[in-house]
């Protein structure tokens, strides 16, 4: 190829050893089928919808990663906000537990061992 002849003249090796010139002696020619395969790929892609072609681009990966980061950040922000919100006193759990931990039952603090609570089913003598 013409390209090689031009480039070989520009090999300014400077103080490099002379044997480096031998490297320029080895070269390759591409196989003619390579161009045909590249063309075939491009032609096949022409039939695909634009969004499918876009998905195959590196930009699609970058966009997906960006979306993932944004979603994770938004979810984290949302969860943090709900964790700092004060408990809803009107909820069923709060109503059952109450503030004294009685689970809705009344505790008689001054009760004696012999005393009978009204809901014990016992009779008072």
């Amino acid at each position: 190829m013409k390209d090689r002849d031009v480039t070989r003249d520009r090999t300014g090796a400077g103080d490099a050893p002379r044997w480096l010139e031998l490297l320029a002696g080895a070269h390759a020619e591409p196989e003619p089928g390579t161009l045909a395969r590249a063309r075939a790929r491009l032609a096949a892609r022409g039939a695909e919808p634009a969004w499918v072609r876009w998905l195959a681009r590196p930009a699609a990966l970058a966009a997906s990663a960006a979306l993932l980061v944004i979603s994770a950040w938004a979810a984290n922000a949302w969860l943090s906000a709900s964790a700092t919100q004060p408990a809803d006193d009107g909820s069923i759990v709060a109503a059952l537990l109450g503030e004294d931990g009685s689970y809705g039952l009344r505790i008689d603090a001054g009760g004696t061992p012999g005393s009978i609570r009204p809901d014990s089913g016992g009779t008072e003598r």
């Binding site: 190829m1 013409k2 390209d3 090689r4 031009v6 480039t7 070989r8 003249d9 520009r10 090999t11 300014g12 090796a13 490099a16 050893p17 044997w19 480096l20 010139e21 031998l22 490297l23 320029a24 002696g25 080895a26 070269h27 390759a28 020619e29 591409p30 196989e31 089928g33 390579t34 161009l35 395969r37 590249a38 063309r39 790929r41 491009l42 032609a43 681009r57």
Partner: protein, 170 residues
């Protein structure tokens, strides 16, 4: 798509030489050249031409070769074979001005083995500079590294090759 043919005509040789020198596998190198053509076609509208088409095509090719080498788990194109240049799918032509009393081909084969013992980033620098004839500035663009890095890679590569071939310098 019409632009592909002139690209292939003008730069296909340099692209194939770079890919085969790096990968030492003809089929894989051809896949790289094909992929580079497709990528150049895709990116064509964005090409500004500041640094030249050739450098740009070699940059795409070198990047694809690096990707393949990173993924590779084996060494293709054994260096132990009797013809390390031909094993990589390369052809050796007589070098103008070389002493004809010396067996240039045999020396080139030994040189090829020494070059392929280098780490990939040094090897690609040597191939670009001494096989494809890129200037330091063109290499900066093709490799995507500063000129100091280009020079240090070349310098380290040369030192390693000199060590490998020290009986030649003696």
């Amino acid at each position: 798509m019409a632009a592909l043919e002139p690209l292939f005509e003008r730069f296909g040789g340099a692209m194939a030489t770079l890919a085969r020198s790096m990968l030492r596998d003809v089929a894989e190198a051809e896949d790289v050249v094909e992929e580079a053509l497709v990528r150049a076609h895709d990116a064509g509208p964005g090409f500004r031409g500041e640094r030249g088409l050739r450098t740009w095509m070699l940059r795409i090719t070198a990047s694809l070769c690096r990707d393949r080498l990173r993924r590779r788990r084996f060494t293709a194109g054994s260096l132990d074979g009797p013809t390390p240049i031909e094993d990589a799918g390369l052809r050796f032509d007589p070098v103008a001005g070389w002493d004809e009393r010396l067996d240039a081909h045999a020396m080139a084969e030994r040189l090829e083995v020494a070059m392929n013992r280098l780490p990939p980033e040094q090897r690609e620098a040597v191939v670009m500079r001494h096989r494809l004839g890129l200037s330091h500035e063109e290499m900066c663009v093709a490799l995507g590294v500063p000129i100091g890095t280009v020079k240090s890679r070349l310098s380290r590569a040369l030192a390693a090759m000199r060590e490998d071939l020290k009986d030649w310098d003696a």
